[in-house]
């Protein structure tokens, strides 16, 4: 079943066209990474899928988009959740209380596990009473992921979630997300990233966009088995072949333009 179906989508902010003729289908359980030049419209597409555009940010949309067969604007709460570069955490809430936020808002929604159980799952059971300011960047993103996954959303949208982390922490986070996927805690997911390696580690497909107005340049399937990082974080030669293939598609587009 297709979780997300986009057909001939054109989007503009006034006279400025952002997305051009996007057609894309994402199956349930699949993770797709969006890669493309800065400002090309990857995050805009993410916000269109979430229904934020055009509800909160006015834009002109032409073409079709459906989430589990429905218009994104008609979706009920709990189907989608998001995580951002700065995380999802409210600074005045403790880790446990931040994990509980989605449950408080959805009230009658699905409860995958309690905040305490989720803290164990994200490996931070000793930090339940700690506020985000006292946590490291990696810890904050672990809690943010937990906060988004606690209500079992069917689609998780990740907008450059690890961009502000250092290289080592980033690799640990990749392993952590891989683990969440193996445990089936993450179902369908879209990852917006600038890092090719991140896209290859975490996704089943990489969608490469052109510059603005963004259109789909190529979709690269990744059939490497999970986990791709391994316990020692070692990536094999097949992994680098795929990463180089993606890099060459991007370079080719840059040379043409």
């Amino acid at each position: 079943m297709n979780a997300i179906e986009i057909k001939n989508l054109n989007v503009s902010f006034g006279n400025l066209q952002i997305l051009s003729d996007i057609s894309l289908s994402i199956q349930e359980g699949e993770t797709i990474a969006f890669i493309g030049p800065s400002g090309c419209g990857k995050s805009t597409l993410l916000r269109i899928i979430a229904g934020i555009i055009p509800t909160m940010i006015p834009a002109i949309l032409e073409g079709g988009i459906s989430i589990f067969g429905k218009n994104p604007l008609n979706l009920q709460g709990g189907i989608i959740d998001m995580i951002f570069q700065e995380g999802n955490l409210l600074p005045w809430r403790t880790s446990s209380s931040n994990l509980n936020l989605g449950l408080e808002i959805l009230q009658n929604g699905k409860v995958r596990m309690t905040p305490d159980e989720m803290l164990v799952n994200v490996g931070l059971s000793n930090f339940s009473k700690v506020k985000p300011a006292k946590l490291s960047g990696g810890m904050r993103q672990r809690i943010s992921l937990g906060a988004s996954l606690i209500t079992a959303p069917r689609i998780l949208l990740m907008d450059e979630p690890f961009a502000s982390l250092d290289a080592l922490t980033k690799e640990k986070m990749w392993m952590f997300v891989e683990d969440l996927k193996i445990q089936s805690l993450i179902s369908t997911a879209i990852l917006v990233t600038h890092q090719i390696e991140e896209a290859v580690v975490l996704s089943n497909k990489v969608c490469i966009f052109t510059g603005r107005p963004a259109s789909v340049r190529e979709i690269v399937e990744i059939s490497l088995p999970m986990p791709r990082m391994g316990k020692e974080g070692i990536l094999n030669s097949e992994f680098f072949d795929i990463a180089n293939k993606i890099r060459s598609v991007i370079k080719r587009w840059e040379n043409e333009n």
């Binding site: 979430a50 700065e86 999802n88 808002i105």
Partner: protein, 247 residues
Amino acid sequence: MKIKFLAPLLFIVLVTLAFEIILRSTGIVSFIFPRPSIIFQELIKNWGWILENLKVTLYEAVMGFGISILVGVVLALICLFAPFLKTTIVPVTIAIRNVPFVAIAPILFMVFGYGPLAKIVIVILVSFFPIMANLLAGFGSVNQNQLERFFVLRATKWQLFTKLQLPSSIPYFTAGIEVAVSSVVIAAIVGELMGTTKGLGLVIIMSVSQYRFPLLMATVLVTTIASILITWIVRILSNLILKPWID
């Protein structure tokens, strides 16, 4: 902690001593520029009268401040929940804030009399605006990503307000309260100076008309200390009550 309090205290003692020595050695007439020792003598001599009037001024300041918190919060909430009214409320409050009290004092005295009520209204006029403006800034400061997440989760307007907008605005609210409270005592006294039968304003009017400058300076000293103490108490209280949302 001790150094935190000792340093300003030591500074005040040193400045007072310096004034005493300079005024004594230069022989400046104490009638024009009273020495600190004379001011303290006058303060002790008139303490009962000053205290009686201080209570009136403090009552006006505290009541006015309390009501101005209420007015500021209510106006900010109206602007948040009925944004079409914001374009009316904000310019009107700016206009009210900029009306010279001297010009409206006679009207206030005619409407509310020469008792504390007119001064309480003046305190409200001075102090509600920073509370309202800061709270509005706080509501507007909500992180865009968090707003988007609340939308994706389909949070209700009430959930958005109680779980995001209100807690986000708390640091701005406390800053607004501190700005407002720092001027409530002086606002009450300015109100009293324009017409009163009680309060520190009356003590100031009497001291000036009778050329009792040491008493005038003693009253100024009491006013300053009262202002500092009120600001300090409000800061401690707001930090205690709102601490969970400030960190």
